[in-house]
Amino acid sequence: MLACVVTLAAAPAYAHHSFAAEFDITKPVRLVGKVTRIEWSNPHTYFYIDVADASGKVANWAIEGASPGALSRRSWEKDDLKIGQTVVVEGYRAKNGSNTANGRRVTLPDGRALYGGSPGDGGPGDNGTDQGDLPGTPIAK
């Protein structure tokens, strides 16, 4: 039972929340990696990418995004991202220090850069509209 409680305390924050509930605006992060898993789920979507650091060590990152409905209204559909494809994510790290980030600007394999934040979550780029202001920098071609 005690082990159960400890596991609970360590369980990641997965459900619906504002930006500030889980993410740290002072910790921006830019990640380039290959998609390993996709959770096209309510109330937040997640995808996971393997990111190599300068020494070549690979870490798996969880990238949180808006709900399927919100992403769909930005023309980001479930099939736009597939396992093995490379994406560029500009976002903010989780407050708990885990390899989790909220993806605010996600550059999809087809070259489109899309806003990833939840409408009204109060995070960077949230301007009260469905689309949001696309933060971050365009990828140099």
Binding site: A9, A15, A21, S41, P43, S67, P68
Partner: protein
């Protein structure tokens, strides 16, 4: 893997659960109906509780108030139970370890126990006190327990998002 966790995973992986979880609109519509039906449960049950505490509708017999609100309370409960189960279905594997969700289930069990005790004890003699402006202390205690526990259910439900 514990059997309950296994069941949660089965629900989560089912095609209906996946359809709800991946839906563009259905999930948020069900969420809204869930919240609206909870307002019906809490609102109508609070009318009876406040009447027993002597705060509202004092000239009206407790039994009359109870008869008026119960159909609405049960309707609200049925809708909130169904919609709540659908939301759980969509997210079951993630709900299993969620401490706020577990707290909500425990509070729901307690909030069900409260009227069970109430109806088998002090409410059996309700015809002796139904016209009193202030109900006997056992009934007032049940009313306070009801309002407190239902508030706890709502707070724990909202907290699910933050655990």
């Amino acid at each position: 893997m514990p059997i309950l966790q296994h069941l949660c995973q089965l629900l989560y992986d089912s095609s209906f659960g996946t359809m709800l979880r991946e839906s563009n609109n259905a999930f948020s519509v069900i969420e809204s109906i869930h919240v609206l039906s909870i307002t019906l449960v809490f609102g109508t049950i609070a009318i009876l509780d406040l009447r027993m505490l002597g705060l509202i509708l004092r000239p009206i017999a407790v039994t009359r108030v109870a008869r008026s609100v119960f159909p609405l309370t049960w309707t609200g409960f049925a809708i909130s139970f169904i919609t709540g189960f659908l939301l759980f279905w969509a997210e079951s594997a993630k709900m299993y370890p969620n401490s706020a969700f577990r707290t909500k289930l425990i509070l729901l069990a307690l909030v069900g126990l409260n009227p069970l005790i109430f109806h088998t004890t002090v409410y059996r003699r309700v015809h002796k006190w139904e016209a009193l402006h202030l109900a006997p202390w056992r009934a007032r205690a049940a009313a306070i327990a009801s309002i407190t526990l239902w508030s706890g259910v709502i707070i724990a439900g909202r907290a699910i998002a933050y655990f």
